[in-house]
């Protein structure tokens, strides 16, 4: 490792480098220190691994988006003939119609891909990897090797899941929550044959990847903070990643156990989740199992999972709002407290997904209490973000726009959680489009906005160039408007009781009224999907031809901006900077500049020190 410690270029392809580093780069090559295979593929450098996660996540997001466009076509135009999709979907188009079982496969894979592969691996994997060492002041992750394994297990899992899309019997089709018995019995739906097997195998590798990553993140944050970086001086991003990693470590193993038991039921004749089943003309021998048990195991991961998705976005948004409002984040300690509160509560609310699944109603009461309490820390976060904007001096960078968009979507989606968390109201709303609208806003779109904000904000540090701001604005406004046009009307459809995962509603009088609205939603969804290509173009164009970045383009205070424009292996060419102050000294009275980086000692800023800081200056 020590031979790699010198600054090297770490950009993809022809990423720009200042001259001095470029020389080192050539120097490295002369000595064959870093074969391209170890530098770009089996890299142990956290920044390269982060980029690997990001680009894999983007590929998955495109696939997930294509799948959703396909089923939105079906929902918007249930009577249309889809022959023109034959070249893409082959035998899944039967007589001009989408096969109903393949429709279920589409929604299942859309959910799986977006929740796990994009918003867990792509979001948390990218930014935890990229930012934790840079912001806590470490040369790399605690174990670079485990970190590399984490990506490659994710890659393996991705390959398996991707291959399952092309199976003759179709990929898993029992919904992303894979409730047995549907997911356990190939007789019930063809997707529960090989497709489900591959889903489970893929997910096991995914869990391994998450655990390797999570252990690394937690260890790095605890052990590798630079001199002076106490826990109360950590940027909120790091707090969010830290708590996210803990949630993952504690909850993913439970999904592992659920997957394992399901594998046993499917392949080895056990009856953990199966009982009293007569299917396809045959009574099965399984007795005594409980499908509800699976739901408990699944949601014990599944609910923390939504916080695993959203908390990194919360952390990054806090950081970006403070930087671009040129104000300290309001209520730093309250923000940490609410993150901890959300983390703790996220483990005791899982059964609110199960109010009407036959679970004991007394448990329903308990989980309703716990669920609605989680609105309080979430509310505190929103109020603190608003207070951060108040009397700021806001620069609308693309990242800032997405951060503000995040807050807006989080409010819109979060509030309807108060309805769904109420067991009484959930009787009517459970599994309707109201739920779909709720979680797509609060965890889907919000987390995507956090992801976009993060990419726009940290792109200069990742690739040494700036993304085009104008394209960023266009991307933001199209996406922001598109998301609202899709998910606001979806609430109306949900209040009317439209069930989710329906291939069409034409068979029911009760669900006959919203054909026009569903068409509208489909058009908005497909347009919003196409708007993402503005981002994809901007991203890849800017990697190679974007405007060159400076070391600290946003005048930010955290440690990553004290590294060279493209930090090499080891992050800082010389000594790691020490930290003296919290990360939000923006617009401090008495200071000439409107930001004071964390590595500036109080002794250098006598004019702006607060009373208690004067003692620290000596």
């Amino acid at each position: 490792m020590s031979s790699n410690a010198g600054p090297t270029t770490a950009g993809i392809g022809t990423a720009p480098v200042p001259h001095t580093e470029h020389d080192d780069h050539l120097h490295d090559h002369e000595h064959h220190d870093q074969h391209w295979l170890w530098k770009y593929v089996f890299s142990q450098d956290h920044k390269m691994i982060a980029r690997q996660f990001l680009i894999t996540g983007m590929l998955w997001a495109i696939i997930g988006g294509v799948l959703s466009s396909l089923f939105r076509l079906q929902l918007g135009w249930p009577e249309a003939t889809l022959d023109w999709l034959q070249p893409l979907l082959g035998k899944w188009i039967e007589g001009g119609k989408l096969n109903p079982e393949f429709y279920l496969a589409l929604v299942t894979m859309h959910g799986t891909i977006m929740v796990f592969f994009v918003l867990t691996a792509g979001l948390s994997g990218t930014f935890s990897n990229f930012l934790i060492p840079l912001q806590v002041g470490a040369r790399d992750m605690a174990s670079g090797f485990m970190n590399m394994l984490s990506y490659w297990f994710f890659f393996l899992s991705s390959v398996i899941m991707f291959c399952s899309l092309f199976l003759e019997t179709g990929p898993a089709s029992a919904g992303w929550t894979i409730y047995p018995p549907l997911s356990a019995l190939p007789q019930a739906i063809p997707g529960s044959g090989m497709g489900m097997t591959m889903w489970l195998v893929s997910m096991v590798f995914f869990i391994v990847s998450q655990l390797l990553g999570g252990v690394n993140y937690v260890t790095t944050v605890i052990n590798l903070r630079t001199r002076g970086m106490s826990m109360s001086k950590l940027p909120l991003t790091i707090w969010a990643f830290f708590l996210t990693a803990i949630l993952g470590i504690l909850s993913f193993p439970v999904l592992f156990s659920a997957a394992l038991l399901l594998v046993f039921d499917r392949s080895f004749g056990t009856s953990f989740f199966l009982s009293d089943i007569y299917i396809a003309g045959q009574a099965l021998h399984n007795q005594g199992g409980s499908p509800v048990l699976f739901q408990h195991l699944f949601w014990f991961l599944g609910h923390p999972e939504v916080y695993i998705v959203i908390m990194p976005a919360m952390g990054m948004v806090s950081e970006i709002l403070a930087t671009n409002a040129r104000k300290p984040i309001f209520g730093y300690r309250a923000m940490i407290g609410s993150l901890i509160g959300i983390s703790l509560l996220s483990f005791v609310v899982w059964a609110h997904h199960m109010f009407v699944t036959g679970m004991n109603p007394f448990l329903g009461s308990v989980f309703m209490f716990l669920t609605l309490i989680i609105a309080v820390p979430s509310g505190v976060k929103v109020f603190n973000w608003l207070a951060t904007l108040w009397r700021g001096n806001i620069r609308f960078t693309a990242a800032m726009l997405f951060a503000i968009g995040f807050v807006s979507l989080f409010i819109s989606g979060g509030l309807t959680g108060i309805i769904l968390g109420n067991a009484t109201l959930d009787i009517q709303m459970h599994n309707t489009y109201f739920v779909v609208a709720h979680f797509h806003l609060v965890m889907g779109s919000s987390a995507f906005f956090g992801l976009f904000a993060g990419v726009y904000h940290w792109f200069p540090k990742m690739f040494g160039r700036m993304m085009d701001e104008k394209l960023g604005y266009i991307h933001f406004w199209l996406t922001f408007i598109g998301v609202y046009l899709v998910f606001m009307p979806m609430h109306y459809v949900g209040i009317a009781g439209f069930p989710r995962r329906y291939y069409s509603w034409t068979g029911f009088d009760a669900f006959s009224q919203f054909a026009d609205l569903n068409k509208f939603i489909s058009i908005a969804a497909i347009l919003a999907f196409f708007a993402q290509f503005v981002f994809i173009f901007n991203f890849f164009y800017s990697i190679f031809r974007g405007r060159r970045a400076t070391e600290n383009p946003w005048n930010s205070t955290t440690l990553e901006w004290t590294t060279p424009i493209v930090p090499g292996h080891g992050n800082w060419p010389g000594e790691i900077p020490a930290v003296y102050r919290w990360p939000y000294d923006y617009s401090k009275p008495g200071s000439e500049v409107d930001f004071i980086p964390q590595n500036v000692p109080y002794s250098q800023t006598p004019s702006s020190n607060l009373p208690y800081e004067r003692e620290l200056a000596e």
Partner: protein, 365 residues
């Protein structure tokens, strides 16, 4: 040929966009705004924030009002009316929070946009404010929880003793309905006895089965509590009756239940809605396979007299020649009907008198 033309047009469009993009960059470099930190676009974005709030907000309220009638399915049960009130009360509460926070977000974004020479106000924390905006939502939440909890315990509590009992069983991909007959007892069923002529798995060695009858739609009397016992024989399904605000999963191996009191007959509802074809419907609301979206069952709410007449006109299982013949044949072959019924009973899912274990707590509440 057409697809080639479309492709060509798309490619040309992309080229045009690319050129426009280059042009934009070159102009920006020329005018000097390329490297400037904060230019006119900052102001444009700030104004757009305000425009988004006003136009978006107006569009939202207009479309909400416009669709309001369509999004409210008519209600036909007692607890449904209570739920509806709670739903819209909660909607008003969250609506207030929604408007307040979104307006502050967009107005602050506009008002505190970058201005040359202004400095942001260094305001890092205020514990009093934090306490206030922790406690107020906590109080609001507590009251919502309390109301929800009261209603939840009432709705999920034990059904009145005099409730009409019927059983709905989900299977891929339709619903089967069974009534207990004159003795008011649902007979024992056993999934191992299911075959083409015995879709329910009746165990005819149980005398209580003999007068049970099956139906092709649900009939219930108006104004009388109805207890639906719910089963599934293959995968998960969910009984979802949107007009009655009823939903409960059908779980293989674990009978569930839901009780409600219908308030409006089908005829009354038809008259009220001016739709002579209106029917109450039961939909499957848990993904169950290919035919999930088509698992429909009609529900008829009768006047109590009509219900009694309908009930009397149904023909019990014992009159089902097919079923009885295959039962006789089977009991001769295996002795299942006589001595062997012990085994069948041990495996039986449905209770005869006592409550099944998973629901014991419910009954005692």
């Amino acid at each position: 040929m057409t697809s080639l033309t479309i492709l060509l047009v798309l490619v040309l469009l992309l080229v045009v966009f690319g050129l426009l993009f280059r042009l934009q960059i070159l102009t920006a470099i020329f005018s000097g705004s390329y490297v400037r930190q904060i230019g006119t676009s900052n102001r444009v974005n700030a104004v757009l924030m305000l425009v988004f709030m006003v136009v978006g907000g107006a569009a939202f309220f207009w479309s909400f009002a416009d669709n309001f009638d369509k999004m409210n399915p008519p209600i036909a049960s007692i607890h449904g009316h209570a739920m509806e009130r709670m739903f819209w009360t909660t909607m008003i509460v969250i609506g207030i929070a929604f408007v307040l926070t979104q307006v502050l977000l967009f107005v602050y974004s506009y008002k505190y946009q970058y201005k040359e020479g202004r400095r942001a106000y260094f305001f890092s924390h205020n514990n009093k404010i934090e306490v206030i905006w922790t406690i107020i939502p906590a109080i609001v939440m507590a009251s919502l929880i309390f109301a929800g909890w009261k209603a939840w315990t009432r709705i999920t509590g034990p059904a009145p003793k005099d409730a009409i009992v019927l059983e709905v069983m989900g299977k891929q991909f339709n619903w089967l309905v069974r009534y207990p007959g004159r003795d008011m007892k649902l007979g024992v069923v056993n999934y191992r006895l299911i075959d083409a002529s015995n879709e329910f798995g009746f165990d005819l060695s149980d005398k209580a089965s003999m007068d049970d009858f099956t139906a092709s739609e649900i009939h219930v009397p108006k104004g009388h509590p109805v207890l639906i016992k719910i089963r599934s024989r293959d995968v998960l399904h969910a009984v979802y009756m949107p007009h009655f605000r009823v939903q409960m999963y059908a779980v293989p191996g674990m009978p569930t239940r839901f009780w409600f009191t219908p308030t409006t007959t089908t005829d009354e509802m038809r008259a009220k809605l001016g739709n002579p074809k209106f029917n109450y419907e039961l939909a499957c609301n848990q993904i169950c396979g290919k035919g999930h979206f088509a698992m429909k069952l009609n529900i008829v709410v009768d006047e109590p007299d009509d219900y009694v007449a309908w009930f009397a006109a149904q023909s019990p299982v014992s009159k089902n020649a097919d079923l009885m013949a295959s039962y006789k044949q089977m009991s001769q072959q295996t002795g299942l009907g006589k001595g062997g019924s012990q085994g069948a009973k041990a495996n039986a899912i449905e209770e005869t008198g006592e409550t099944p274990a998973p629901l014991a707590a419910q009954a005692s509440m």
